[in-house]
């Protein structure tokens, strides 16, 4: 059996009394778009934080292409081909937009042309000499995404990349995600907009209080009674 694109075993994270991830185990073999949904506080961001090396799990292991990432420094994980975006934007306030795409490890070797092309791809052409504060919110979100792509990752963890975007903007990004998937990049897409996730994902994971509530194709997950009750139903009430 070839190694999984990513795999976690018995992942457990606690913050004081809160168990954010509770013995989570799953593997993903085939690439494509993996949707990750779950209520507020379900542990989605924590999952991203553990995989990207920001948070150390209390227990459990994480693998990328069969390589053990557990305990590896965040920059090594990024260099190994796993990058991420941040739910609360974390841009480099003093750097220009273009520099955001030249600073990531190894990105400079691809040259300026490549960086400019990437900017055009996410719809930020013409903004290269601006700083994050001079960008609209939607543009800042897209810059987060472009920065994560600048390292040519094997897998990108997208933590609510569409939050706060207008409908047309988010459609553009969804089609960009499709292109990335077709180019062989695996995407883990965290998103509260469930219909979008169901539409674009090849596989959907539902997280609930740190555990996997459901896992399957979009159709399977959408018809799962437990999901409908615990999450999708809830969601209608809450939003």
């Amino acid at each position: 059996m070839s190694p999984a694109v990513f795999e976690v075993q018995d992942l457990t994270v606690r913050f004081g009394g809160v168990t954010a991830l509770d013995g989570l185990s799953l593997r993903h073999d085939s690439g494509g778009v993996v949707g990750l949904i779950g209520a507020n506080g379900a542990g989605k961001t924590t999952f991203v934080n553990v995989l990207s090396g920001v948070v150390r799990p209390a227990r459990g292991r994480a693998f990328l292409d069969g390589r053990d990432l557990t305990g590896l420094a965040a920059h090594k994980i990024a260099r190994a081909g796993l990058t991420r975006t941040f739910q609360n934007l974390r841009l480099f306030g003093s750097l220009t937009v273009l520099d955001h795409l030249l600073v990531p490890y190894g990105a400079r070797n691809h040259g300026r042309q490549r960086a400019l092309a990437l900017l055009a791809e996410v719809g930020l052409a013409g903004t290269e000499s601006r700083r994050p504060a001079e960008l609209a919110y939607g543009e800042q979100r897209r810059l987060e995404l472009a920065r994560a792509l600048a390292l040519d990752p094997r897998i990108v963890l997208l933590d609510e990349p569409l939050a706060g975007l207008a409908g047309s903007e988010s459609d553009e990004l969804l089609s960009l995600f499709g292109r990335l998937r077709d180019g062989g990049t695996t995407l883990l897409l965290i998103e509260h907009d469930v219909p979008s996730v169901l539409r674009i994902s090849d596989r959907v994971l539902v997280l609930d209080r740190g555990r996997l509530l459901a896992d399957g194709t979009p159709a399977e997950v959408a018809s799962d009674p437990e999901v409908r009750q615990a999450y999708l139903g809830d969601d209608d009430v809450r939003d």
Partner: protein, 290 residues
């Protein structure tokens, strides 16, 4: 070697002061995420105000009350005039701000009290007691009592009062606390005020044993940091234990090696602790939400 119990006793006695200072540092760090480099200067300010006023003939209780008022006022001023306006600044600026406050307090203390040491009489008269072959000033009993009292008071405040619960909520999770209607800034003010008063108390009880001058706060602050870091930096109880450990190490080293290398070893200990424990410390540092 047979002197070690005596050294340990001396260490525990001096350690109580470090414990009180470390407690204040840990409280402020826990609630506002700020390392307060002026904490040692609050101790100096409390001790100096106390000794100076007592020298002028004031009743010790009046002098102590004045000392605590001054440190509390200074703590409030530091928060309201310096830290709160800069709340959006990064932690690097906040650190430099507290350093600025520290030298400002030192400078003002020199301007007001002069550069010389000031002396206060021990509370119960100048008595010594003997134990394990060492002779210790009875004033250390006051230090120990004060440390125990403030530790109990802080514990009661944090675990029993509404304010204490709110402070712990801010410490655990700032954003959620804010959503619950707790103002982190106000909790920061309370923590700093509390830390300043603790430092003032420490300064007052220490003044008869170590006559303070305007620079006395720097080494005390450093030992308080060592105490707080040893205790994990966010744990009030840990800081108290850390303070006692620092005191004991300092006393044993002074006794067994030489007093000359005492500072090298105590400051070296802080470096070593910071180097050995970053794993444990890191966990505390990832409090910011992503």
């Amino acid at each position: 070697m047979e002197h070690i119990p005596g050294y340990v006793l001396i260490g525990l006695s001096t350690g109580t002061t470090y414990a009180v200072i470390g407690l204040g540092i840990a409280l402020v760090y826990q609630v506002s995420g700020i390392i307060n480099f002026a904490q040692g200067d609050f101790v100096m300010l409390g001790g100096l105000t106390f000794a100076f006023t007592a020298e002028q003939g004031a009743h010790p209780v009046v002098a102590a009350a004045l000392a605590l008022t001054v440190t509390a006022g200074c703590g409030a001023a530091l928060h309201l005039a310096v830290l709160a306006p800069a709340r959006d600044a990064g932690h690097d600026r906040l650190i430099v701000l507290t350093i600025g406050a520290s030298i400002l307090i030192q400078g003002s203390a020199v301007l007001v009290f002069g550069a010389d040491q000031h002396f206060a009489a021990p509370f119960g008269g100048d008595r010594q007691f003997q134990a394990f072959g060492v002779s210790i000033s009875a004033q250390y009993l006051w230090c120990a009592a004060a440390a125990a009292a403030v530790a109990a008071a802080v514990w009661a405040l944090l675990s029993r009062s509404q304010t204490g619960r709110a402070m712990r909520a801010v410490a655990a999770d700032r954003e959620t606390a804010r959503l619950m209607g707790i103002a982190p800034l106000r909790m920061g003010l309370i923590a700093l005020l509390l830390a300043a008063v603790l430092a003032g108390i420490g300064g007052v009880v220490l003044a008869p044993i170590q006559p303070p001058d305007a620079t006395a706060g720097v080494p005390l602050g450093l030992k308080g940091f060592t105490a707080a870091v040893l205790g994990g930096l966010t744990s009030p109880l840990g800081a108290i234990a850390g303070g006692l450990v620092v005191g004991v190490v300092e006393a044993v080293v002074t006794g067994l090696v030489s007093s000359g290398y005492r500072d090298t070893i105590v400051y070296g200990l802080l470096v070593a602790v910071l180097l050995v424990r970053p794993g444990g410390l890191l966990i505390a540092a990832v409090r910011e939400r992503l």
